[in-house]
């Protein structure tokens, strides 16, 4: 182990500096300016030290700097735990470790820190570009580790060797990635800062809250249908149901985990599909109305909303079945129905008056009231727009009678209000509507701008019935997409615009790649692993036989790699190879060729020992001698030699 104390050479220092820069640079945007500058200063200092061959700073100074850095991080984040402060500390340690590169031991420690910080990058983002960048960092760091052992090769050679070794490590990575028994995290509590800013539906709805989402083209979830993709008008992705209204906001009041199985029956053909849900930090899972099954680790609320046991903080994938036609809630609980007609005491007198008229006219016939309401909405000539005017205290009245311009939440809220005022139980359902099929990979992509709100009314004998008041006024929003529904000229998210065909095409492709990445790389979790193994005929594998399979396969790869690595790339002279075949044949007859023996000498000896083959042996030896040692041997001679040897049967 004498080597570990070897001083770090200049070249090694450069390599480690390169590794550290490659590691820290992608992380820089995550840090406050002072930290980024401090790290840059430390790295520059190191560069100057190496360049000028100055002495390393004294240890007490480094200790002070470490303390200062830690204090800085603590002051910035009020903690040293958690993702960002943790990574920040590691960056500080790495930068300062570079300033005390004394022996090979420090060099190895630095390289290991670099490896560790690559993981730090993944805490923030795991996109394809990040992965590519991480590959580059890995390459440079590995080259630095190589240089720590042997700094003589040129940089290109060092990089080539690092690349070769990483390439050889790839099969192991693939095997381990697929087969290593996966554990669903977290293993311990995760500080909450990881999910601070994710866009998506919230558990309250007020005018403008969904319209805000319509400006975002972030992906909410992706869907892969098992069979045909249902028509656009059926794609209602049920989200948070909001039965409670305080005059301005609609709220979720669901009873979590009310049902372990669906309490209704389906009619018609079920639809099977698989959802890949982007993390949104909430509990609910989106499902096509109405969900017929429940994903694992989830339950159904009292208003038929599947919710997960844990907030969706990681990309989540679940398979689902939906009954597009289902009869739900025929025998709905009385308290629920009671809550579904509650309204604030006053406000919105005009719509209350109209509802009262419906009530008077149709009495308890809630179906008739519903029809009347739909009729009323279509006659009001409401306009669907992304830029509705601001509303005052009597929001519903102002929308229906004055401004007449609104987004889906206006429509849904007004409709539910009208029904409730007429005594019909109704509630607002938020979620997403529609989506876009990516022709490249066939996935239906639902984006934030597909967010929608609609109404659900309870009709005696039919249960809860979906009514989409937006569809009454702007049917193209439901049958087409957002761009078709809003008046021309309104600002739409870039990706929602339909006028740039090539851009759309490009987007489809990028999205398909990104989806494949999400599905197969980032979304490779215990569930997907089980599914994959099941599809390979390995049902319910436990960690023991998975480990066994893994070891066998890794062993096989290792053997293959060993064979490849140890292969004798000795290019044997063809004449010599033929000669060896010949001598091997004679060796089986007990006439062993000595490795130092010349062809003629051997032929004479062999001919004495096997006189009946003397002529053949003599001819072969003479041919071989001429081909191998003679001047300008002709190609024909080599062929003749090979033929003679092939025909030689002692």
């Amino acid at each position: 182990m004498a080597r570990i104390d070897r001083p770090v050479s200049r070249r090694q220092a450069w390599w480690l500096l390169a590794g550290a820069v490659a590691t820290c640079l992608p992380l820089a945007p995550q840090f406050p300016l002072w930290l980024a500058l401090a790290a840059a200063a430390a790295l520059s200092w190191r560069a100057a030290l190496t360049w000028r061959q100055w002495h390393l700073p004294p240890r007490w100074l480094l200790v002070m700097l470490v303390i200062a850095g830690t204090a800085g991080v603590f002051l910035q984040y009020r903690t040293t735990l958690g993702r960002t402060p943790g990574v920040a500390l590691l960056v500080i340690f790495l930068a300062l470790k570079l300033l005390e590169l004394r022996t090979a031991r420090d060099a190895v420690a630095t390289a290991l820190l670099c490896y560790f910080l690559i993981l730090g990058q993944f805490l923030f983002t795991q996109t394809i570009p990040t992965a590519l960048l991480a590959c580059l960092t890995l390459l440079i760091t590995t080259a630095a580790l190589l240089a720590a052992s042997d700094d003589r090769p040129e940089p290109q050679q060092q990089l080539r060797r690092a690349g070769l070794m990483l390439a050889q490590a790839l099969p192991f990575m693939l095997l381990l990635f697929v087969l290593f028994p996966r554990v669903q995290g977290p293993l311990w509590g995760i500080p909450q800062d990881r999910f601070s800013a994710v866009s998506g539906l919230s558990d309250t709805m007020s005018p403008g809250s969904i319209a805000q989402l319509s400006q975002s083209d972030a992906i909410a979830f992706r869907v892969k249908f098992k069979g045909e993709t249902p028509p656009q008008s059926q794609l209602y992705w049920r989200g948070p149901v909001m039965p409670s209204f305080d005059g301005r906001n609609w709220r979720v009041t669901q009873t979590l985990g009310a049902y372990a199985e669906v309490p209704y029956t389906g009619l018609g053909a079920p639809v099977d599909y698989e959802v890949t849900l982007e993390p949104h930090g909430k509990f609910w899972l989106f499902a096509l109305e109405l969900p017929a099954t429940l994903p694992a680790e989830s339950a159904l609320t009292s208003d038929y909303q599947p919710v997960a046991r844990q907030a969706v903080r990681n990309r989540l994938r679940y398979t689902q079945r939906a009954w597009p036609e289902a009869i739900a809630g025929i025998n709905e609980a009385r308290n629920l129905l009671g809550a579904a007609v509650e309204l604030p005491k006053d406000g919105n007198p005009r719509i209350r008056a109209i509802s009262a008229a419906w009530r008077a006219q149709h009495g308890d016939d809630s179906a008739a009231i519903l029809a009347a309401a739909e009729n009323f909405f279509s006659r009001q000539l409401l306009i669907y727009t992304l830029n509705p005017p601001l509303l005052g205290a009597d929001m519903v009245d102002e929308f229906l009678f004055d401004t007449r311009r609104g987004f889906c939440e206006h429509f849904a809220a007004a409709f539910v209000f009208a029904l409730r005022a007429a005594g019909v139980p109704a509630r607002v359902v938020a979620g997403y509507q529609g989506g876009e099929v990516n022709p490249v990979d066939g996935y239906l992509v639902v984006r934030q701008y597909d967010a929608h709100a609609w109404a659900e009314a309870w009709i005696a004998g039919r249960g809860w019935v979906r009514v989409d008041p937006t569809a009454i006024s702007a049917p193209s929003r439901i049958s087409g997409n957002l761009a078709d529904a809003v008046p021309a000229g309104e600002a739409l998210p870039f990706l929602a615009r339909g006028d740039l065909a090539w851009l759309r095409e490009l987007r489809y492709r990028l999205d398909a790649v990104s989806n494949g990445w999400n599905q197969w790389v980032l979304g490779y979790n215990p569930q997907r692993q089980r599914d994959l193994l099941a599809s390979l005929g390995l049902n319910e594998p436990d960690w023991r036989n998975m480990t066994a399979i893994l070891s066998v396969l890794c062993g096989a790869v290792m053997l293959g790699l060993t064979a490849w690595i140890l292969r004798n790339r000795l290019r044997v002279d063809p004449a010599l190879a033929a000669w060896r075949r010949f001598t091997a044949r004679l060796a089986r007859r007990g006439i062993a060729w000595q490795p130092w023996e010349g062809p003629q000498a051997f032929a004479e000896r062999a001919a004495r020992q096997a006189p009946m083959h003397a002529a053949a042996i003599g001819e072969i030896a003479a041919l071989y001698a001429r081909v191998r040692y003679g001047p300008a041997p002709q190609a024909g001679e080599l062929i003749r030699l090979k033929a003679r040897i092939s025909a030689f049967r002692p």
Binding site: P595, W596, G598, P599, A601, R628, Y629, G630
Partner: protein
């Protein structure tokens, strides 16, 4: 395609030197490779006769120098003698100015005399009193030395020995050969009756042909690793010099030509190896003076063909 003239030369020599085909062949190979020959053996086994016969059949002039301890370089090279009549110095060429020189008992002479001969051998010219005189072409030195350590001898240092391309040992003839020798005609008369088989010009051509014998890369590799082995193995005090390697290849070429081949085989190298290493490799273990053939065999068997 054996060369008839070479076969005839060998036959002639073997008619006189009986039962010594291998040393005879080696000696001829040495001359064909333009090298000088060292014969180490006891007196009376035919060293002088061999040198004489070689000179005769090759049609070359022959001189013998008996080396003694009081010999001076001038005794070998020649002296300028003052001619009183003309009042000028005249160079009287020494016995070295001939095509074949037999330097008998070379280790009896003092190092000064030895080096005079050896330098002339190497440079194929003689420089005395500031004047350089070329030696005849072809030019061979056949030196003999006594094998036993005797008082008053000056064993040639390794550096000088290296200038001899080959060292052969004649040894006592076997019984049959000795009987034939005793019963046969007088050797002296037989030598005198010999007629040259080739002209000196032909000999030069033969030497050219030797140089043209093909040594393939595989064979050169073999020579190289043989040499490398001698340099690194623990058995010898110093390995073969590059000059020795060149010599080895040259003699192997000559040996191949004597065998009628236009290319060298490993067998050729192995055949001439004892003559090459016998006077060059000094065993580490001085007490065990093994014969060159045993040493060569051990070397050959330690080095596989590439």
């Amino acid at each position: 395609m054996r060369l008839p003239e070479l076969d005839a030369i060998l036959a002639d020599i073997n008619r006189i030197i009986l039962g010594k085909e291998r040393p005879v062949r080696l000696s001829l190979a040495c001359l064909l490779a333009r090298g000088h020959l060292l014969i180490e053996d006891l007196p009376g086994v035919g060293k002088t006769t061999l040198a004489h016969v070689l000179a005769r059949v090759l049609g070359l002039d022959f001189q013998r120098i008996q080396f003694t301890s009081d010999m001076l370089p001038a005794d070998v090279l020649g002296v300028s003698i003052f001619d009183r009549d003309s009042g000028a110095f005249h160079f009287h060429p020494g016995p070295i100015f001939t095509q074949v020189v037999l330097a008998d008992e070379i280790n009896r002479a003092t190092p000064k005399a030895q080096s005079a001969l050896l330098e002339a051998m190497e440079e194929r010219q003689v420089t005395t009193e500031g004047k350089t005189r070329a030696l005849p072409e072809p030019f061979f030195v056949i030196a003999t030395q006594n094998p036993t350590h005797q008082i008053g001898t000056f064993p040639l240092p390794e550096s000088q020995l290296d200038r001899f391309l080959l060292k052969v040992e004649l040894g006592y003839p076997d019984a049959a050969a000795e009987r034939e020798l005793l019963a046969g005609a007088d050797r002296r008369q037989m030598v005198a009756a010999l007629v040259p088989r080739i002209a000196p010009q032909q000999l030069l051509e033969l030497q050219e042909r030797v140089r043209a014998v093909h040594a393939s890369p595989a064979l050169i590799d073999y020579v190289q690793i043989l040499a490398a082995h001698t340099r690194t193995a623990p058995h010898w005090q110093a390995g073969l010099s590059p000059r020795a390697c060149l010599g080895l290849l040259a003699v192997a070429r000559a040996w191949a030509l004597l065998d009628g081949r236009d290319h060298v085989l490993p067998e050729d190298v192995q055949a001439v190896l004892p003559g090459i290493i016998g006077h060059r490799l000094r065993p580490m273990d001085d007490t065990a003076r093994t014969d060159p053939h045993g040493v060569a065999a051990a070397l050959i068997e330690a080095v596989p063909l590439p």
